[in-house]
């Protein structure tokens, strides 16, 4: 890219802008569609589980790891143990 006159003026910045944008947007487009999917999965899985146990929506974590050949979906739901919880609540300073 640098010509023999390159030292006379700064290296052109447009190709840098172009490359940064391409990398960023590829990532962001994937994230937007992925975060929508995660929200749907999170809500539906939570719906099924909460039909049987009372679950705190704050204690549900869904994550997706996108690999080259396959992706993994991890669902982590904390199911509270009633008596333990009571104990904690009673012991907690108010």
């Amino acid at each position: 890219m640098k010509s023999i006159f390159g030292f006379l003026r700064p290296v052109s910045s447009a190709p840098v802008a172009r490359e940064r944008l391409q990398i960023l947007l590829e990532y962001e487009r994937r994230m937007v569609s992925q975060s929508a999917l995660i929200t749907v999965l999170r809500d539906e899985i939570l719906g099924v589980v909460s039909r049987h146990v009372t679950v705190d929506p704050e204690c549900v974590h869904v994550s997706v790891d996108r690999g080259d050949g396959f992706s993994t979906l991890a669902v982590d739901i904390q199911i509270p143990q009633p008596e333990r919880r009571e104990g904690v609540r009673r012991g907690a300073p108010r």
Partner: protein
């Protein structure tokens, strides 16, 4: 039935309002009935660019809420009798807009006008999503600059998912309007060139508006540039863009494309 076009961008300051006014006036000049609608509730500016700021009595919110009828709120342009403005409210906030109310107003405007141009507020919140909600087509205004291109990409995603057309599986045509383009800087590699922006956003090009002092002059005077600076480069570019919007096929000439022999031989390598 008129066509509803949203003029949007995500980022602020890229030329949405200027473009809405310029395209509206260019379309109206061909004799068609045009209304430009300001959706930027709380920060209205289309009235100022149109030179109608002292004539606002009722606004979009009044019509949405039913406290004024549509004909009472419409302001007819003093220079072009087929051009109208529906101003935004200055005092209310964006929550005053309801989806049902906007749907009703858009339906009524569609009956009265050939073109309904909705000037979207910046951002991706309620005002912006309601401005695009009932659109048939979109004009995405983008500057050849990284943050503007990124935000346009987000807006294109919203146009493809949050509009009535998208939700009902219909196609919403999107047009890219590149504004504030400086051909000399692009040729020197200091500014993203047209091909770069087109490749990244991959929606069809409606026009290229060159950076020009005339744009500020027009907004100072309170007239769309296609009315007061008619022979200027940006005005001619807007006139062509308006004709393309109306379905004409006109070749797009990139500003600064006319090259000398030297540039033809050596210029390519810089791009």
């Amino acid at each position: 039935m008129g066509k509803v076009i949203v003029v949007t961008s995500g980022k602020g300051g890229v030329g949405k309002t200027t473009s809405t006014a310029a395209l509206g006036a260019a379309l109206a000049r061909s004799g068609q009935n045009v209304v430009v609608v300001d959706f930027d509730v709380g920060l209205r500016n289309l009235d100022l660019v149109m030179g109608a700021e002292r004539r606002v009595v009722f606004d979009l919110i009044n019509v949405v809420q039913g406290t004024a009828r549509l004909p009472q709120a419409l302001i007819r342009d003093k220079r072009l009798e087929t051009l109208y403005l529906l101003p935004a409210s200055q005092t209310r906030d964006k929550d005053a807009l309801t989806e049902d109310g906007v749907e009703r107003v858009i339906a009524e405007l569609r009956m009265r006008f050939d073109w309904v141009l909705c000037d979207s507020p910046a951002g991706i919140e309620r005002g912006a999503t309601l401005a695009m909600r009932f659109a048939d087509e979109a004009v995405v205004v983008t500057n050849p600059e990284v943050s503007s291109v990124r935000d346009s990409d987000r807006i294109i995603g919203l146009l493809d998912s949050k509009t009535i057309r998208a939700e009902s599986g219909e196609r919403l045509e999107k047009h890219l309007l590149i504004s504030r383009f400086d051909p000399a800087r692009a040729a020197r590699g200091e500014m993203l060139n047209i091909e770069d922006v087109l490749e990244i956003l991959s929606i069809p090009l409606l026009g290229i508006i060159p950076e020009s002092e005339e744009v500020l002059r027009a907004s100072n005077l309170g007239a769309p540039i296609t009315i007061c600076g008619r022979e200027s480069a940006p005005s001619l570019a807007y006139f062509e863009a308006a004709r393309r919007l109306a379905g004409e096929t006109i070749e797009i000439v990139y500003p600064g494309q006319k090259r000398g022999l030297f540039a033809k031989l050596f210029g390519r390598r810089a791009a």
